[in-house]
């Protein structure tokens, strides 16, 4: 069964460093998303991406965040200068009509 794949499963970084979280969406899906879940809190929408551009973003998704689809298969989330409060699980999702989620990347900012 097709699935959304995320790497790495766990990323540890120092405050102020740049991180790139990677996702391989399901191959025939056209819409891509990033969500995050801070420990003990609910899943929050960050950004949606369609036709090689951002279609919607939340207020969390400030200019420290960017997304890219560098080739036909990968979808990345970059955080330019990580902060302690960026520590969370980050989930990638893709959809044709219904969103399917990856297993997530746990980002720990020290």
């Amino acid at each position: 069964e097709p699935e959304v794949t995320q790497t790495p499963s766990h990323q540890v970084t120092q405050m102020g460093q740049e991180v790139i979280l990677r996702c391989v969406p399901i191959s025939n899906h056209l819409y891509f998303y990033w969500y995050r879940q801070i420990l003990g809190q609910k899943v929050e929408f960050l950004v949606s991406f369609y036709n090689n551009e951002i279609s919607e973003k939340s207020e969390i998704f400030d200019d420290q965040f960017s997304v890219e689809r560098p080739d036909g298969s990968n979808f990345t989330l970059k955080i330019r200068s990580t902060k302690l409060e960026d520590s969370a699980m980050y989930f990638c999702a893709s959809s044709f009509t219904i969103q399917y989620f990856g297993a997530g990347t746990r980002l720990s900012v020290l």
Binding site: K42, F91, Q99, F101
Partner: protein
């Protein structure tokens, strides 16, 4: 801002009992999804409901979308220990590929 409130937040019952989890909002959603999330993993889709009043069954799980498309419920019959987990509802404001608003979650524990 659309909000989804789930109740109860925590539920612990004996194996074999029935239970209902609620997902409520003051906003109308074009569709509502129910997911189950295991610790350290991503949400796994259980069902999508799109029509007001719609009822969908998945084995012992019954999902209902409210007539006004503002609320939903998940009913589990004869709960099993394998049903233990975090259940999330998530609504889409417009039909299509829009951002999902997630509920606060219900952590269900089934005691053998």
């Amino acid at each position: 801002t659309q909000l989804l409130e789930q109740s109860p937040q925590f539920l612990s019952i004996q194996e074999g009992e029935n239970l209902t989890v609620y997902c409520n909002s003051s906003s109308v959603f074009s569709s509502l999804q129910w997911y189950r999330q295991e610790p350290g993993e991503g949400p796994v889709l259980l069902v999508t409901v799109v029509t007001g009043g719609e009822v969908k069954k998945l084995k012992r799980l019954t999902f209902q979308f409210g007539d006004a498309r503002k609320d939903s419920s998940l009913h589990i019959t004869a709960a099993q220990p394998g049903d233990t987990g975090l259940y999330l509802c998530a609504g889409a404001p417009d039909f299509g590929n829009e951002k999902l608003t997630f509920g606060t979650g219900t952590r269900l524990t089934i005691i053998p």
